[in-house]
Amino acid sequence: MPPRLSPFTVARSIPYRSRVQSQCLPRPFAKPALPQFRPYSDSKDPPAADNSKRFDTKPLPHVSEEAAKTAEIMGEQGPDIGKGTPVEEAVKGDKATQEKLPKVMQDAIKAKPNNSAPKGSRSYSTTTTSMTDGGGLDLGLVDFNTPTKMPEIPGLKFEMPSLPLPKDGHLKHRYDAVIDQVTNLLMRHGQKSVAQRNMSLILQHLRTSQIPTINPARPLIPGAPPPSHLPLNPILYLTLAIDSVAPLVRIRSQRGAAGGGVALQIPVPLGQRQRRRTAVDWILNAASKKRNNKGSGKGGFAQRIAEEMVAVVEGRSGVWDRRNGVHKLGVSARANVVLPKRR
């Protein structure tokens, strides 16, 4: 048996990593729980040990020691007796003993199934967070962090700029990156102004729509604000919808690699822009396929897409299934990934 409490319980989500930085996830991950029962470090023997010489008069050792001894006799690896055994584990499966337990522990045992992961959930994580500075989502606040004034440096013609530089300081990157990208993806026939109007209508629809109810089976990316904050911050709403359904990988079909005329499916990691692009494409397709569309006139297109975005955040959209399908395929095909040899 492996040691019961391992300090390396932080899940490694997917067996490839594009960069080293991705190891330090910005989200607050759970620390491994400290063992609740610690044996005395100086005492070799349990306190119940008797001084009697006769073997059969000796009291039975502690359950874990007994199990360890049994395992030693059987030639197996028993529990690590360096650490104590929690009572819950000792009485596991023993109905009669469980009834004798204190009420608190009985309740804890009963309550356990609720705390465990929901049925049908995966053992691996399929979310990432942005690698940008701070790692948090952009909450859309302008000029709320007062810029720091640089100290006066003699000899400068103009004073030093105050840092951080304003987000809209650069002419070509003055708008939010997601908004820029989605606007370009909405564009048809090169009509950017029309796309911008549609984008504006989408954001307007998001900010006038009801507060979304989040489906716990379809969690948004970690670090998302409570749903009541979303309509007042439509850019964040849109970003959340897109980033939450964005797939991590795409499946590349390599012809001839598997032999027998079958294409070998290889999962390929996607960059952030690529992931968003895929998500927006899926959302656009889902919006155009949707039944009971209200209208197709001016603003109808924007409304359809905005409704699909709301559906994504609420977990109703079919895009989620698509994403899960891709991830499932990616996990099953990860054996096909050939990593370069380490020197």
Binding site: V142, L232, I235, G295
Partner: protein, 476 residues
Amino acid sequence: MPSSVCLRVFSQLSRDRTALAAAAPRGLLPALPASCFSTSAPRCANPAPKKKNMTAAPKRGARTLNVKKGGKGVAQDTSKRAAPGERKAMRKRIVLSNNNALEVRSLQDLDKPSALSERHEGQVRGIPEDVVDSLRAVEAFKPAQGWSLFRRPATLMRKQTMQLAQLLKDAETTDGEQRKTIRRVLVGERMSGKTTLLLQALAMAFLRDWVVINLPEAQDIVNAHTEYALLPDSHPVQYTQNTYTGNLLSQILKANERILDTMSVTTNPTLPLPLLPNATLKQLVQLGVSDTEASWPVFVALWQELTQPGRPPIMLAMDGLAHIMQDSEYLSAEAAPVHAHDLTLVRHFVDHLAGRKSLPNGGMVLAATSKSNAPASPALDFSVQVAEARQSRLENIPSWNRYKRVDERAMDVLKDVDVIKVGGLSKEEARAIIEYYAESGMLRAKVDEGFVTEKWSLAGMGNVGELERVTVRLRI
């Protein structure tokens, strides 16, 4: 065989004709028998067999075999189409509240005693609920305006609003016997807030218990989308629009119900329908709403009642003035275009705008021009120029280029009308409205001097529509 007989007859005939042609003049030729070119033979023949493999195009959304290479792309739109009228309903839908927007604590409402007070200047003020209902009834809110972003309707009381409030006050005061009739045209750049200013005037009139009659869109009167009929015994010929007038009456009724219910009919109008003795004006208007045939006589009777002494002032307003300064889309019996001023409703408005008729109980005739939806109207443009020159007391008042065609009737109407120029907001006004946006939660920024100045400049020196666009519309 009939065809061969025909051919033979034909050849014979042509020979005869050539022989005769030299001798006899053209008119003396015998008339050709009709049977020569009979079409009965092909008609009697069996119908051609139907072509095979001529099936209809596949139904939209049905899967068909597509052998084109690389046919991935975006999927076809297979969604259900909108039902008739649904799109228009969506387009014309007016939403006046947003539950997500934050409630502005400091927002005060306009009320009757202080509606025309000057202390509102430069502040954002809420519109009380009953006035909102009335304004909605007269279609004063337009779909493109930004009402749907905020918790409830509120407006900025700008300088021009105060000017209008002063005019309303003038119209209410009695000096001697006659009360004043104020006539104004609102002009200004595109998105500078002319329609909203009109709405503010209507709101103030509602608050002050005036009778409000609003023609929400001049284009709808003249674009020939509603039926029209000759007005009997009219010289020159005029046309009534019964459906439109009936609809207008129902709007008047909905908006002014409380006031109309308190007044009873004092004159003895001649109506095609029987009216109860001692009927109220509300019942009179209801006659016109229920039977559109009687709508125009009812409107005339209503107007006659409202101009009796002791009645409240009247606000008569119209948006999109340029549309009625030209020929309408209606045609007369001679298929000549009908001038817009020959429609009874338009004529009624125009007579009051030109000052040919006055409002004995005082009141205001207000027309707003439009820059985004307006036909070219040289007469209107010129009249506005003249009025502006007159107001600024310029020496050289522009004169009409005599070699240009002019709509004499439009020119005549707009001869001495005054204008209110709606320009950009001042920076203080811009700051007030930007702070309101921020308090509503629609603008996520720190409002300070620099921010206000930046947005004011981006909005073309405080054009309010552009200001809204650059701050809350997220047009990025």
